[in-house]
């Protein structure tokens, strides 16, 4: 029985992996996709010193319930939407998590002892005339029929989306309505940087090209459109297919076991 105890012990240790997140952890999981602290804007504003610029309660509201600010026609929110081209999406951050994030952000305020050299970048990427993307091509990139030139994995590895023609991965969120959430500008920013947990490392030296980004945006635009929304998600046969094959294999073993009597 000592063995069982050892194993239970290991399981106990590792069950704690997910809990006890600090503000920094949460920031890098939920915010860092669009925000940096020092070093310029991504698809959302640079958050260095944000606790000096804005009221703490306001920050908490935009983190936990951005839609409320839009409904109230909050002037700052409206200005931000105008500047960045889309509204910050609701990321489902709890009050408790928001407090931790704000605590973390306070560490980067002007009064904080920490110093981060700020390289100011122009808020707007010097945008060449936007390329017209091809949604079919975008879909092929999404499913991996066409590979990203720099060698990055296809989106379907971890994400699903309506209209991809296959159930996608379940490791990461469904991207069907990404276009609606981020808009073209936001989507471009996100696809250029891919600053999400795991993705930022997986695509580190495998950035998408401008053409690929344009195709992906075209695909997401089509997927998010109303016509596509009506489509029922194509019911894939996985994992039932695996279970069926497994039963066949067990049948073969049964036949095999009867071979020698």
């Amino acid at each position: 029985m000592r063995g069982i105890i050892t194993i239970l012990f290991f399981m106990l240790i590792f069950s704690g992996v997910a809990s006890a997140q600090t503000g920094e952890d949460i920031f890098y999981t939920k915010c860092a996709g669009c925000h940096k602290i020092g070093g310029g804007d991504l698809s959302g504003p640079d958050l260095q010193g944000v606790t000096d610029r804005r009221d703490i309660q306001w920050i908490k509201t935009i983190i936990t319930n951005p839609d409320k600010l839009v409904q109230e026609n909050d002037p700052t929110m409206m200005e931000l939407i105008a500047r960045y081209g889309f509204q910050m999406p609701n990321l489902g951050v709890s009050d408790e998590e928001a407090d931790k994030i704000i605590e973390y952000l306070k560490g980067f305020s002007a009064g904080a002892p920490r110093e981060t050299p700020v390289e100011k970048q122009p808020a707007e990427q010097p945008s060449a005339p936007a390329l017209e993307g091809d949604p079919i091509s975008g879909k092929m990139y999404f499913t991996g029929e066409k590979r990203f030139s720099a060698g990055g994995p296809p989106c379907i590895s971890c994400h699903s989306a309506r209209g991809a023609g296959i159930q996608g991965g379940t490791l990461a969120p469904d991207l069907s309505d990404l276009y609606g959430k981020l808009g073209e500008k936001g989507l471009r920013g996100v696809l250029q940087t891919l600053q999400f947990p795991v993705m930022k490392d997986v695509y580190k030296n495998k950035k998408l090209s401008e053409e690929e980004i344009a195709d992906m945006i075209a695909f997401f635009k089509e997927t998010g459109s109303k016509a596509q929304k009506k489509q029922v998600k194509s019911g894939g046969m996985y994992p039932i297919s695996g279970v069926m094959l497994f039963l066949v294999a067990m049948g073969i073993i049964w036949l095999y076991s009867r071979r020698v009597k």
Partner: protein, 224 residues
Amino acid sequence: MLDLIIFVIIPYFAIALAVFVTPYRYLTNRLDWSAFSTQFLERKKLVWGSIPWHYGVILILAGHLIGFLFPSAVQSILSGIEAIVAMESIALTLGLLALTGSLVLLLRRFSSGILRNISGYMDWILLLLVLYQAGTGVYMGIFARWGMEWYLHTAVPWLYSLLTLNPDISIVSGLPVIFKLHVTGAFLILALLPFTKFVHFLFLPLDFIKDPPLLYRWAFRKKL
């Protein structure tokens, strides 16, 4: 810190044990280099345990290895949605075979009195470990698809970074807990390899496949 333990310390520890202790055991103590077959003690349930387990796990392990050795070849095989579904279905089948097999083997050892009596604690640890490993694998196959795709871009680069002695855990530390559990189980098994009957894994009995089936003959035989 925990990630460092899971993705660097345990793996190196396990690899060191496997690499250095295995030859030592081979050279000094080869007499108990065996799978310690218990077929003689219990035969009926063994078919449902040993066969699914071994066919499942050998092929699954081969799959992990092929993905590791030839990531770009596997990548091009997976181009196309039908290919992904087909390959993942096969992998899930094999995983389920291994899961069923290891579960049956564990229950078999537990339910047969004579077997339980001769089982040491290591027998239980090994069976629980492989059951756990098959369980976490199947769980990921179903709930964290498509593992075959993301394995190539997360676990494989990390394993290469381990082998080139330049461990880079950034790429795997953001993956879900179930993946970390699976990795930990894998390296625990590797660490136990040189000390237990797991060493029989290092001898693939390929000649055995073409042998005719073994026939047990009894002088008299009761209906079982």
